[in-house]
Amino acid sequence: MSAAGVLFRRELALTWGGGGGPLLACGFFACLTTVVPLAAGGDPAVLKPVAAGIAWLALALASLLSLERLFERDLEDGALDLLATGPLSLEMVFAIKAISQWLATGLPLALTAPVAALALGQPVELAPLTVLSALIGGLGFAFTGALGAALALGAKRGGLLIAVVVLPLFIPPVVFGSGALDRAAAGLSPLSALALLTAYVLFAVIIAPLAGAAAIRSAQG
């Protein structure tokens, strides 16, 4: 098996297994979307127009949860040095870790999202679009989130720092993602919003590994 395959399998095992993984993110997501009707009242006339927005806000927040451990754990136990003396560049290592983060957090969240949105009053026909947009957006959350995690390496209370660094970067996917759902709910084509969402995510997928690898090198040095 190639070095990339070896690392990918291990990262997936760590993100699925260690530190809560997908269950934690989905549980948090479900709690958050349950609290909203309790706080704002169960009136469908109030909830239905904001269902997509709330679902996306909850997605963004749930994506933050396991970021802190993504690189910090490897810095603490020395695994980051091991990864740096391996055959792949740190940029590749970063990308592999971000993709496994997406598969362990973004993918289960994307499958949970339509259920929560449905509970908030979103029409059933929008469920496939919700999954699709959450999957694309989740990839963006994973890469920008991993960048935040790399930037916060070695900082005390890194988890909070990551949230502050990363949440502004989460704004565009939230805007485009919930925008796509709103347009579809209004009977318009969601394609323009989806295209913008995908463009932002692709940008993040290219830029984040370069910046993230530089941040890791600086934390190691």
Binding site: M1, S2, A3, V6, L7, R10, A13, L14, G17, G18, R73, D74, E76, D77, G78, A79, L80, D81, L82, L83, A84, T85, G86, P87, L88, S89, R217, Q220, G221
Partner: protein
């Protein structure tokens, strides 16, 4: 394969502090050098600089092969050297076997050396335990196993023997002697002498 490591006029700083200036030395195939010096003299930093994790303030670190051609740094660091520091990179929640297999395959891309590593370091009975359940010495043996599990020419070791008992110090000494006999190189930061004949480099003296 790396056949020599040349360090010329190397200056390392950490923060505002200069660790040492103008360090020169060469390590050739089959040689081991014991790196000594007081705490804070820069032994670990030198090893990390050679592994490419710290950028030197000045000077050059050059790897060359048997025909004296320079090897690309990335190639040398990514495929031909081991860095084993205080932190061994083992995940405490995973079984020892998974860690050994991952480390060996990640660094060496083959299955060949793993069985040999298990035998040399007598890890068979430890393989099913979680890493957190190992004693410090057992844990170090598991970390040392990657040196055999994925053969690489240059070993950069930071206090490799400290948690080991007398029997395992000798066994690891024999392991090092075999590595040198096969054309390998060892640079080890130590406080106690290694159980093999070594050159010595005292960082306290070059300051």
């Amino acid at each position: 394969m790396i056949a020599a490591l040349h360090i010329s006029d190397l200056t390392l700083t950490r923060g505002e502090r200069t660790l040492f200036r103008n360090l020169n030395f060469t390590l050739a195939a089959g040689e081991a050098v014991a790196l000594t010096g007081a705490n804070g003299a820069g032994k670990t930093s030198l090893l990390r600089a050679i592994a490419g994790l710290i950028r030197p303030e000045a000077g050059a670190i050059v790897f060359s092969d048997a025909e004296r051609r320079t090897i690309d740094e990335r190639q040398a660091r990514g495929r031909e050297l081991h860095l084993l520091g205080h932190l061994d990179g083992l995940k405490s929640g995973l079984p020892a076997r998974d860690e050994l297999v991952f480390q060996s395959r990640w660094l060496g891309r083959s299955h060949a050396g793993i069985d040999e590593a298990i035998e040399t370091l007598a890890l068979q009975s430890l393989l099913d335990l979680e890493v957190r359940k190992l004693s410090a010495g057992q844990r170090r043996r598991l970390a040392l196993a990657r040196l055999i599990g994925s053969p690489r020419a240059l070993w950069l070791l930071d206090e490799p023997l400290s948690p080991l008992d007398a029997r395992w110090r000798d066994a690891v000494g024999a392991m090092m002697a075999r590595h040198l006999a096969g054309g390998g190189m060892i640079l080890a930061a130590v406080h106690d002498p290694l159980p093999i004949p070594t050159g010595s480099l005292d960082l306290g003296a070059v300051r």
